[in-house]
Symmetry: C2
Subunit: 460 residues, 2 copies
């Protein structure tokens, strides 16, 4: 679709600060893929490292004029190929847009997209405030990417996901127009809910250049519970028993393979023989945390936990949380990964987890399962050796079967990572043709030339 020449790139460079436009193939190669390592990622014409909203506007005006595809990119930690480069297109990185201001009186942060999630949390913490959403990758994922994918995390079971904290956005549209949606108002229903529409749109409707976030007062240190189970079913039933009456601040699941991958990597003393492990926290104030932990322990014991450990030492609790967060790199040590992000209605959680075990057996591949169990969002991690074509095929087959299972159970192919390019072919099976058509109508209304992240979420 592009008709770019060196002349047209020079035209773009003239609109940007020195060094913002990069064509050196050694550098641009690093922007071809995100963490999903999409094998079909293209080779970009150039990378723009924007320094401000005006740079992003210049890029989109130029791209519109010349019909050049633009792939917006945060920190490149995406797990579904939402930032895979497109042949002949631009990669538009927001990594250099790193300003943030925190207003402690109104408990609001206004941030540019390039800060890491952990940096936003740290800026809030300086004022005794907290930005809750916490993807496992919070130290290496950007807040812009979080907004673009409506990222989740471990505390979402109690505190909600990214969209619950986004009060406003500045967005650059396909034609280069910059608009402000929402703002620093805790309630605002003036006009259509465009802020919410752009959150989670994966760069297909516009480029987010500023985010207004609601913060909340810092929570008390958490108390923690760890329970081992002899069966996946017992752990899953304990999850339902806990969420029936309580709002834990975290409720995570690890299966046998994940436990052992973590133990190989960080040696936490987890029970290597357990079939499943639950990790839960309460951050209720005062004596209530102990009551909540006791109720969770009782639920686990009732559902057959073989070993239960509880602590109100927050550092000890953080060590377990860190172990849980390390599952992804620990499993990565075992081979290449295909990452699932399927979510199901809570009562289907046991079927989802046991169904993945069957798929692993049928396809003869290792699948490690870790889950944000408290909200039914599971991450089966399919391990394979890319130099083994047969195993690669079987892994690919398992990848599809897991999504098929989630859809059959009334679930979603993606709870928090986004559709990107790797799950795009499954989206119609989940949404159906009528809802796909609604998605396309809105995409076309806002990006009639189809230059914004083409091929992500929707087919080109």
């Amino acid at each position: 679709m592009t008709a770019t020449t060196p002349d047209t790139l020079t035209e773009l460079a003239a609109e940007l600060p020195a060094g913002a436009l990069v064509t050196d193939p050694d550098v641009t190669a690093g922007y071809r893929q995100d963490w999903a390592a999409d094998p079909n990622a293209g080779t970009p014409l150039a990378v723009v490292r924007a320094t401000c909203t005006e740079d992003v506007q210049a890029v989109m005006r130029w791209a519109s004029k010349h019909r050049v595809p633009v792939v917006p990119r945060g920190a490149g930690s995406g797990l579904s190929g939402g930032s895979s480069a497109v042949d002949g297109g631009l990669v538009l990185s927001t990594e250099r847009m790193r300003e943030i201001t925190v207003d402690p009186v109104t408990r609001i942060a206004v941030t540019q997209p390039g800060l890491m999630n952990a940096e936003v949390k740290a800026a809030a913490a300086e004022h005794g405030l907290w930005y809750p959403p916490d993807p496992s990758s919070f130290e290496i994922c950007s807040i812009g990417g979080n907004a673009a994918t409506n990222a989740g995390g471990l505390c979402c079971v109690k505190y909600g996901v990214t969209t619950d904290y986004v009060l406003g956005l500045q967005v650059v549209l396909a034609d280069g127009t910059a608009v402000r949606l929402g703002g620093p108002r805790l309630k605002d229903v003036a006009g259509l809910s465009l802020t919410k529409l752009f959150v989670g749109s994966e760069g297909t409707l516009g480029v987010i250049t500023e985010i207004t976030l609601r913060l909340i007062p810092a929570q008390p240190p958490a108390s923690t519970m760890v329970a081992s189970f002899g069966s996946v079913r017992g752990a899953a039933d304990a999850v339902l028993a806990i969420t029936r009456n309580l709002r834990p601040a975290m409720l995570e699941f690890m299966d046998h393979a994940s436990i052992n991958a973590v133990e190989d990597s960080v040696r936490m003393g987890l029970d290597r023989g357990a079939r499943a492990l639950l990790l839960a926290q309460s951050d209720a104030p005062g004596a209530v945390a102990a009551e909540e932990i006791a109720a969770m322990v009782a639920a686990c014991e009732k559902h057959g936990a073989t070993e239960v450990f509880a602590t109100d030492d927050s550092e000890e609790g953080q060590a377990f949380t860190a172990a849980r967060r390390s599952v992804f790199p620990a499993v990565q040590a075992l081979g290449s990964l295909l990452l699932e992000d399927v979510g199901v209605p809570m009562q289907a959680l046991p079927q989802m987890i046991t169904g993945v075990e069957e798929i692993a057996q049928d396809c003869d591949v290792l699948i490690c399962v870790v889950a944000h169990a408290g909200d039914g969002n599971t991450h089966p991690l399919i391990v394979f050796d890319p130099s083994d074509p047969d195993e690669t095929d079987r892994a690919q087959r398992a990848f599809g079967l897991v999504m098929d299972l989630a859809i059959a159970l009334g679930g979603t192919i993606t709870g928090e990572h986004g559709v990107g390019r790797l799950k795009r072919d499954w989206l119609p099976y989940q949404l159906g043709e009528d809802v796909m058509e609604l998605n396309r109508r809105i995409k076309t209304a806002l990006d009639p030339q189809g230059i914004l992240n083409p091929g992500a979420v929707l087919a080109e």
Copy 2:
């Protein structure tokens, strides 16, 4: 735009259950206006009282075919003319769609739109669960209308607004297609955030026929604080001091005129001499509620409260809450009302409230101010005698000036009631032309004939 004849109405009647289509002018007259009493409301051709999604589909297919405008209507308790009838159009009421199921294991309710908010709360409470959003009108407003306007309420300061609880929708589109968006999954980012787009769209994009709601465990009974102030500024400063560090479960403001209107009506023993009153609650568990109330009392005393009362008796607290909820009917006893719903960034709350006092003086009208102070959302209620043309003019002028002030302070013309028809002319001043154009593009993409609630939110 319509070309309907008795024949075409007969065609519609044949698609609906007996009695669903009403043309008796004595009955249809009751569907011309909502609580906003829009003087420009039209006269509908007919009213359809749908019994199921299929009825709504039949209406929209027929309306599409004949290009007849359709005004969706819940309980008719809207406060901005979002349900004003359109001349020659249909009013499509969902009042008869009243089924609900609650799943206590997954803490999810699936409800049709015709239930009152209070009925949804009651159905949840049967299982020890809670649906938080609580408009003051919760006993007479429908859950469908709540979703269509993204309604707020008193507990939103801690628990969020309607959209935060909507996991899924069934929606009938302009052409009669019924789609399911989202569903009973706590996290789901597959495709664009269409569920969130339809929440708050005021019937302009589709008709909501089913809502999947997230519920949470019931909260402990609340403790309550009431503080009187000799100045509006002192009360507003106390609000900022409280929200700086705490998350009260309610934080409401009443001005001198509201206090006296309530005392005239329900006699709670409020301080009639006070310039402002704050009503706050904590529903923190265990001993923490008393700590939070003590902190709120201290903040009020520090900012000049003349009298502070605190109680952990939840019935006593409910009496104060009921008094607060009665402001609207109490003020209505004083004359006709123009209802504002302006919201501002928290730090501008004192300027908003004192600015309204000045507008009342300048325009020589009574304006009673009640506010969800904890989230900056104020309801100036402009009282006037509609038989007095001069006072009516001054009230209309004040109505616009209050919205102008909110916009000038970086605020919104509507925090929770919706734009409807009465605030439509101010929307461009808040959003600006580029964002208006985005709204129109999405409206056109989903309702190309413009038959869904024409004239609401956007000009026809």
